[in-house]
Structures are given as structure tokens and as C-alpha cells.
Symmetry: none
Subunit: 255 residues, 2 copies
DNA sequence: TAATACCACGCATTATCGTGCAGTTTTTTG
DNA sequence: CAAAAAACTGCACGATAATGCGTGGTATTA
């Protein structure tokens, strides 16, 4: 039995039964579980299945990747989100960027807060549906499925009609010299437009995002008014940013 | 039973019944309540549900009301949706209205279908994120929370740039004399704009929507090219519509 | 207030997982 | 055709995840 052949059969079994178990596959194909695990890993990286403890499931890669990202340092994200949510004043018009951290911000907003939230993220818009005193303005555009945000020229154009008091920006990569950068050109355009339409800009960054850079530059560090991080970030790591003149807010989170 | 599998089932149960009890889940899945509690905790951290004493509830009142509406004649809606989904041809640009029936249409679309779907409904946009060959265009606007659709002048304006082959319209009320009507003026504007931007218009109506009327008129029956209903609608009820010249498609559903 | 049900936390147990390593097979290349 | 490179496989071993139980705390109800 060829490797590729076995993997093909694994996929067939998966589609037939909706799930496969490492132990069963190992018995079925008379190979070690290590081999099966390697198969599953390969197939998972190819986006063909969703690995779980004990085997694999047939699931939508998009939702899975989004759920995965939400699981990365969820406590840190929540802590940052709680702190950032406090920066929103009643009556303000706030631009809320897409992303898992900003989604937590939306969830952290007080239920009785009166404000207008502008966002290009369908999940964020939906999560705000309970906040009866919040007007939600959705920016349309082409759905960028990987991040579940709307992007494109139309989105930027719609932003042109907005004049916001505050912008809460999820930070993918932040570097003292390079500034704010992201992995996708469309997202870079959106974030840049969001920044330009807001009086104050708050960057939300988990520890892992600091001192990193990606391919597309949104703007310099100076574009940010505040940077919100979790307290698990070592103070020394923030020195470079403070020296540039950035106001850093470290939350109360203790790891 | 895999852990991830069990958690997925918990979510399904939750969406079906709007609540789950730790004790019941423990009995159903034959695992200890501790395990169930751990599941609920994890899912709650991921924002998928809200933990309460004794079990868990749906995250938000909005989702609950949305779940309520989805529970109204779900089989009929699914049958209609399946039939309507078959009307979409590869390569077409399709406007998909908001609503629980049209959400089922989105879910019924083949995973390998290549098309462009234009929608003003965040839930529909998100549900299409798995369809890798579908381009999703979101119409922005103000979020009308009750129906989770974007409305307003901006939405209508964005529609002005669209020229669609097909429009799938959820029907709230249909009457031979009065035509298509809805309970909300903003939605009426949107639906009217959607109709005007499409070559063909398909109305999706469950039995309960026929021969009813609401306050705001979208347009006459003649605005529709096709009307899709479930086979549980008695043929006589459709006579009036057929006489006007409407092509009625009755699906294969048997109650 | 007392009784009951529910919950959080720590611990031990078991199954599963990841990784480095060596032997084998397959593919590539000269 | 033969040597080199790459891929595949199984094993050992430490790490991680999942689960159930006991203890003690907390919410709910009478």
C-alpha cells in the first residue's frame, strides 16, 4: 500500500463516517499509529481535515482556523479587550477592526453603553446585536474569508463617510522601526483607512505580536495614540515603543 | 466518542433546545459531569455559549430569537431552500436576501459551486465562508438587529453598483392583490432595490406567508419571476398566484 | 437557616501525541 | 546502472490532553 493511497483512503473513510480514529486507522491499515498521526498531520496541513485529540473530524477549515485563533492566548486577549473596552466613552463613534481580539472587545462592552460601532467584521457586528443601545454600522465589501472581514475598494470608500472618535485596531505585527504591518495587502489598506478616519487610534497587541513584522506596512508606530498590551509582556519589551513616544497601557492580567 | 465531537453535539443540542443541562448531558454522553462542565467552560471561553448554574444557554437573546425563527417549520424551510439552491447556475452573480430561509439556501449551496453571492446579511456571509469557490460580497449599512441584516441608504446605494443574474428573496407576506410586503420600511427599501438590480427574482415563501400582508409594500407579485414553496402548500392556495402569471415551483417535500 | 444541588480545584490515571533516531524503501541524479 | 538523496516507517521516551474522583466551596430553594 502506497502512502498516498492510504491517505486517499483515510479521506474517503472520513467523508463516509464524518470522523476517523487514529487507533482504528492504525488497525485497518496495519501500520503504526505514528504513521497515521503523520498522515493526519499532513492532511490537516493541506486543509483536508481537522485534527482532534484521538483522530480527525470533517469540518470547515475556515471556522476551525477562526476557532483555533480564538484559542491562542484567550486569557491574554480577554484581558486586553477588557482594558480596551474601558477606553470607549458613551456617545462616541468607534471603528472596530476585525480580529479575535477585537471580537473580545465587542463582547466586553457594557450592555448599557450608548455608542456607534463601525466595523468591517460580520462576527463583531453580530455579537453586538444584543447591545440595544449600540448602533452598528457595517462596512461592506468583499469578504476575506480567512479573517472574516470585509475588504476592498468599496470598504475604503465607505470609510470615507466616517469621522470616528476612536479606532480600536487589532495588531498582527508591531516593530519599533517598521511600524504596523499585516500579511494581506487588502487588510493593510483597510487598517490604514481606519486610522485616517479616527481622531484617536488604539492598537491591541498580544505579547507574541511585539517586535515582529509582516509583508505589508500599514503605517508607523506614531499612527497609534495608545498601545494596549497584557501585563504578561515584560516591561523591557515595551521600552523601545515608549521611547518613540507611544503611550502604553498594560492591563491587570497576571499569568 | 471524541471530545471535539461531543462538544459539537452539545452545541447542536443547544441550538435546538436553546438550553442544555449538565446533568442531562452527562447522562446522554455517559461521561461525568466534570467532563461536561469542562466542555461548557471551553465552549464558553470560545464565546459559543453562555454558562449558567445547572447548564448553559445560547450566548445572546438575539441568537435565541433567531433560533426561534429557525425552529418555525425548519423542514419546510430546508425543503424550499434546497429547491431554490438548485436555481443557482455556476458563474452567476446572485443576490441573497436576509432571513432564516435564505440562510438555509446558503447552507444548501454545493461546496464546489463557483458563483458570486451578494448579501446584506452577516450570518449568511459567514456561513458562506466555507464555500471556497464562492465570492462573497457584503452590502454594508446599519445593522437591523431584529433580522440581522444591513439596511439604510448606504445599502441601497451599494446595490446600485450590482447587476445580478438572480435574486433570492425571503418573503414575509405575499398576497395576490397587495403583492410582497414586509413589516419594516427599511427592509422594504432593500428588497425593492434588490429586485430592481436582478434579471430574475425568486421568492421563497413558506405556507404561512401566503395570502398575508404587512404594512410596507415592496412591489407587486409580477416583480417575481418564480415563487418557490414547499409541497405541503395545498395546490388550491397557489391558483390565485398562477392566474396572475407567476411560475410556482413546488418542491419534493412531503410533510 | 438548613438542605440540596451545583461548582471549582487539585490529583492520579490513562490514552494520545510529538520528536528524535535508525532502518528501510523509493526516487532522483550522474 | 549505481550512488546519493529523499521519503517512509516503527520504536522509544518524555510531554500533553482527557477523564473521573475527592474535597471543599458556592448558589439555590424551602
Amino acid at each position: 500500500m502506497l502512502t498516498a493511497e492510504r491517505r486517499q483512503l483515510i479521506l474517503e473513510l472520513l467523508h463516509k463516517n464524518k470522523k476517523v480514529l487514529s487507533s482504528e486507522l492504525s488497525a485497518d491499515f496495519k501500520v503504526s499509529e505514528d504513521t497515521i498521526r503523520r498522515d493526519l498531520r499532513e492532511l490537516s496541513e493541506a486543509g483536508q481535515l481537522q485534527r482532534v485529540h484521538g483522530g480527525a473530524l470533517l469540518t470547515s477549515p475556515t471556522k476551525a482556523s477562526y476557532a483555533d485563533r480564538q484559542k491562542q492566548a484567550p486569557e491574554e486577549k480577554k484581558a486586553i479587550a477588557r482594558t480596551a473596552a474601558k477606553l470607549v466613552r458613551p456617545g462616541q463613534v468607534v471603528i472596530l477592526d476585525g480580529g479575535t481580539t477585537t471580537l473580545q472587545v465587542a463582547r466586553s462592552l457594557p450592555l448599557d453603553l450608548q455608542a456607534t460601532i463601525v466595523t468591517n467584521s460580520p462576527p463583531i457586528a453580530m455579537s453586538l446585536a444584543d447591545h440595544h443601545h449600540i448602533d452598528v454600522v457595517m462596512l461592506g465589501g468583499q469578504l476575506y474569508k480567512k479573517a472574516l472581514v470585509n475588504v476592498g475598494a468599496g470598504t475604503v470608500e465607505n470609510l470615507g463617510m466616517i469621522r470616528a472618535d476612536l479606532c480600536l485596531l487589532g495588531i498582527c505585527s508591531l516593530h519599533p522601526d517598521i511600524g504596523i504591518s499585516v500579511q494581506n495587502l487588502d487588510e493593510a489598506h483597510i487598517k490604514r483607512a481606519m486610522i485616517s478616519r479616527s481622531v484617536e487610534v488604539v492598537g491591541l497587541a498580544t505579547a507574541a505580536k511585539l517586535d515582529t513584522a509582516a509583508s505589508y506596512v500599514v503605517g508607523p508606530i506614531q499612527a497609534l495614540t495608545y498601545l494596549v498590551t497584557a501585563s504578561q509582556v515584560v516591561p523591557e519589551a515595551l521600552e523601545a515603543y515608549k521611547n518613540i513616544g507611544l503611550t502604553v497601557i498594560r492591563d491587570e492580567y497576571v499569568s
